[in-house]
Symmetry: C2
Subunit: 335 residues, 2 copies
């Protein structure tokens, strides 16, 4: 088996062979092909841009429903999309442990190319570093991304008002539970897959067809509970969500009960949380439900007067309790 | 001593404390302060942009003349600058090993803030991941960057012509030798420091005041020899450089002789190689020599008819030999 050597990161001949034989080959586009230190492109007539970065250290690197490469593309695409911008260009920077199988790298790179294509983004810049054995755990990938605002809509927490609806685009907890199951070698009867998906297309449609979106975010690390807390912290409004309305797949719920985990705190990689004007709620839900990544979309609660700065959950038994931010670590290296 | 824990990377409360108490505090600017998943900004009237990414895995993380944070800012700024664009915005993504000293992280972050300020760039997006002990070597940093083209000049290898001059902005090999010396605990009488520096200002002046720049690149991994080979490979022109004209600091030359290294292959982090129309050579040299980072600038050779696709060195003894690309690894984890 061909393995990555320190030479692959030296900047010399072997690095060039790897870049041309793998990255440029699979990520093929007219900007990357130039292989300059910077990708150069025009941003059409649009001037306002979104810029984001994320490193991916997920363990294991291959899991049901995805791999670190798919995650690296989708995660960054989604961070751009939730800002209201259309994802256009991404970079990919690899830190690879000496001895890593080249076939695994190729599998990851192909996955990135596939998902970049599906997401409608070009991978236009890259970097490869190799570190000695035991100085990294296999492979870490950073992707940064640029998106452009097609419409003059600005989303932001400051737009949120009492009565706004909180929509989640589908079942929660799938990604985190899929990773945990794989990592711990647990076996359940039913297959649990990561929900990793590029949401740019679906969100783009919402941005195009509706006007009432106040704020969006993808509830990744820390899950829905942490994301909602981030949104409402310091505000004079509160958030009230209803347990019965929160979509959780049967298998994920069963796994969570077994493992003592709360799906509200578990990472998602293909879901968007949308805070929307109640007048536009139905329109948004209709668009979501008509899309492959939004079939199980639900309104899970609203922005309320009570409990300023807090997130509250009305349980199935009618009790209302405060849902705090995640403290400490629930699932490390989930993305 | 306060140390980084897995919780610092969980996305929950402890992560927020780290982000607010350290990153937002030191990188302070109106775009980052919003703490959204994407930084949002306008690119004035300029539409053509440069986009680049690099991960930094240098070992040791603190060395004479710099640290991993300074390198992460300067390296990415320089990659943008050599494309002919003005560096404007950078992202910073940290992968940190559990147990890393928070005081070291703070020292790095402060250094990044300092050098971003000197380089005239804003750090507008960020990410933090923590991996378990022994799953990474202390800290790895990725920075991606965006620059804008102020002038309608396009640099590119396709503009290079026979007779063009090759200028290096100062002494070569300083960074690589400084790292190696530190890593191997060697002691020389004289102090050798990394040349790490942000070159955006100096290069911007050249782009503003002159018109004959054909191509620029910063000779980092693989050094001047590898960079020149990358430029001329596959061309029907060759490059001839003269050993006597190549500036090498006395201490660096002595260290290289002792260690059996060739300064032509050693990484630089504060140097730019400029290929320029001979009519503009003097003007470019004058601007370089008037700048703190270009005092030792020299024309080291030119683009020639002979040896198409090859880089040749005329030695002090009058012999001409081919200088190949770096093969294998000379100095791992140099940046």
């Amino acid at each position: 088996m061909q393995r990555i050597t320190i030479s692959h990161g030296s900047g010399g001949k072997v690095t060039h062979e790897l870049i041309n034989g793998l990255f440029v080959k699979h990520f093929k586009n007219n900007i990357l092909d130039k292989k300059e230190d910077s990708a150069v492109f025009e941003l059409a007539k649009i001037r306002r841009v979104a810029f984001t970065t994320d490193s991916y250290v997920v363990k294991p690197i291959f899991f049901p429903g995805g791999d670190i490469g798919k995650l690296a593309v989708c995660g960054t695409v989604n961070d751009i999309a939730v800002s209201g911008a259309s994802p256009k260009y991404i970079s990919s920077a690899f830190i690879i442990e000496e001895g890593f199988a080249v076939s695994d790298l190729e599998r990851i790179v192909k996955s990135m190319a596939l998902w970049a294509g599906k997401a409608g983004v070009k991978i236009v810049a890259g970097d490869t570093k190799v570190v000695e054995k035991k100085e990294a755990d296999g492979i870490f990938i950073n992707t940064s991304g640029i998106g452009v605002f097609e419409k003059d809509i600005i989303c932001g927490v400051e737009k949120i008002r009492i009565g706004d609806k909180i929509i989640i685009s589908g079942t929660i907890g799938d990604h985190g539970v899929a990773i945990l199951k794989e990592r711990q070698g647990l076996s359940f009867k039913s297959r649990i897959e990561s929900d990793a998906a590029p949401l740019g297309g679906m969100i783009g449609k919402i941005m195009e067809k509706t006007n009432g979106v106040k704020f969006m975010r993808d509830p990744t690390r820390g899950g829905v509970a942490t994301t909602l807390n981030e949104i409402i912290r310091g505000s004079n409004m509160g958030i009230l969500i209803e347990e019965e309305k929160i979509p959780v797949a049967k298998e994920v719920r069963a796994a969570c009960e077994l493992l003592g985990l709360d799906p509200l705190y578990i990472a998602n990689e293909g879901k968007v949380m949308i805070i929307v004007d109640p007048k536009e709620e139905k329109k948004v839900l209709t668009i979501l439900k008509g899309h492959e990544y939004g079939k199980n979309a639900q309104t899970i609660g609203d922005v309320a007067h009570r409990y300023p700065g807090k997130v509250c959950l009305k349980t199935k038994y009618g009790v209302t309790r405060i849902i705090d931010m995640l403290t400490g670590e629930q699932l490390p290296r989930i993305c």
